[in-house]
């Protein structure tokens, strides 16, 4: 009974957070709604007994990606939301229809009443096992991820800094 209550509460938080994030005109409010969504999702991960992933979700998404989005919003616009312009794009109606169509297609297995799998087996969540798996089968993926993150770091810094134009004249002595 407790698990059901937790699931419905966390699901409501996640869905509401996502909806507010994509519909708000004021972007800062949108970002904080997105952070509520991340927190709801972290709670769902905890409910599914993946506690390390829940901690990593909070650490990476709320702590880092959220702050990054906030800084980017500060740097790129008059933040109270462009009052005059429209919020939605030109093809919004067909976009909405496509989203609903994708939703229906994703639900088709459930609608066709596939037999539900048996109840979940008891899992003993263990971070040590995760560490061992990182070293044994998944070590190449780990190294590739390190390379990817380094490349992303260098690329992001370079792209955001822009190209330095060479100065025309020397600065006065």
């Amino acid at each position: 009974m407790n698990e059901q209550l937790a699931f419905w509460v966390l699901a409501a938080i996640a869905v509401l957070g996502a909806l507010v994030a994509v519909r708000k005109r004021n972007l800062i409010h949108g970002v904080f709604a997105l952070l509520v969504f991340f927190a709801g999702l972290s709670g769902l991960f905890l409910l599914l007994l993946a506690e390390f992933i829940a901690a990593v979700q909070v650490l990476v998404y709320i702590g880092a990606v959220g702050v990054l989005l906030l800084f980017a919003i500060m740097l790129t616009e008059r933040v109270a939301g462009d009052g005059g312009q429209r919020m939605t794009s030109r093809g919004w109606f067909w976009g909405l229809v496509m989203a609903v169509a994708v939703f229906v297609v994703l639900l088709l297995p459930a609608i066709q009443q596939l037999p539900s799998p048996e109840a979940a087996q008891p899992i003993k969540p263990s971070v040590e096992e995760l560490g061992k798996k990182l070293m044994d089968p998944y070590v190449v993926t780990l190294e590739v991820m390190a390379l990817l993150l380094t490349a992303a770091l260098i690329g992001a810094v370079t792209a955001a800094q822009g190209v330095r134009m060479p100065k025309e004249e020397d600065s006065p002595e």
Binding site: F7, V22, L44, A50, L75, T76
Partner: protein, 103 residues
Amino acid sequence: MTLHHYLILAAVLFCVGLMGAFTRRNAIVVLFSVEIMLNAANLNFIAFWRYSDNPELLHGPMFTLFAIAVAAAEVAVGLALVIAVYRHFKTVDLESIDTLREE
């Protein structure tokens, strides 16, 4: 809670993100929506892992860990690109950045 509850929730979240990506003009809100979609997929992975036959293989959390890392890198690079675009066009409105379109 059965597996289907989590799958339907992940589908709803994915479609909310998809709607956001299709509907808004602001580039940063499109980035929000991409993050929502990635998180919905992560939820799917963990749900399938939890209800699988041999959860000691830890395939769910491993995939999700790498997906979170890749998503964080993608947000960083995407926002750097948005900042670079803003510096040139002085706006992040996707409807007005159309210089590649034929007249």
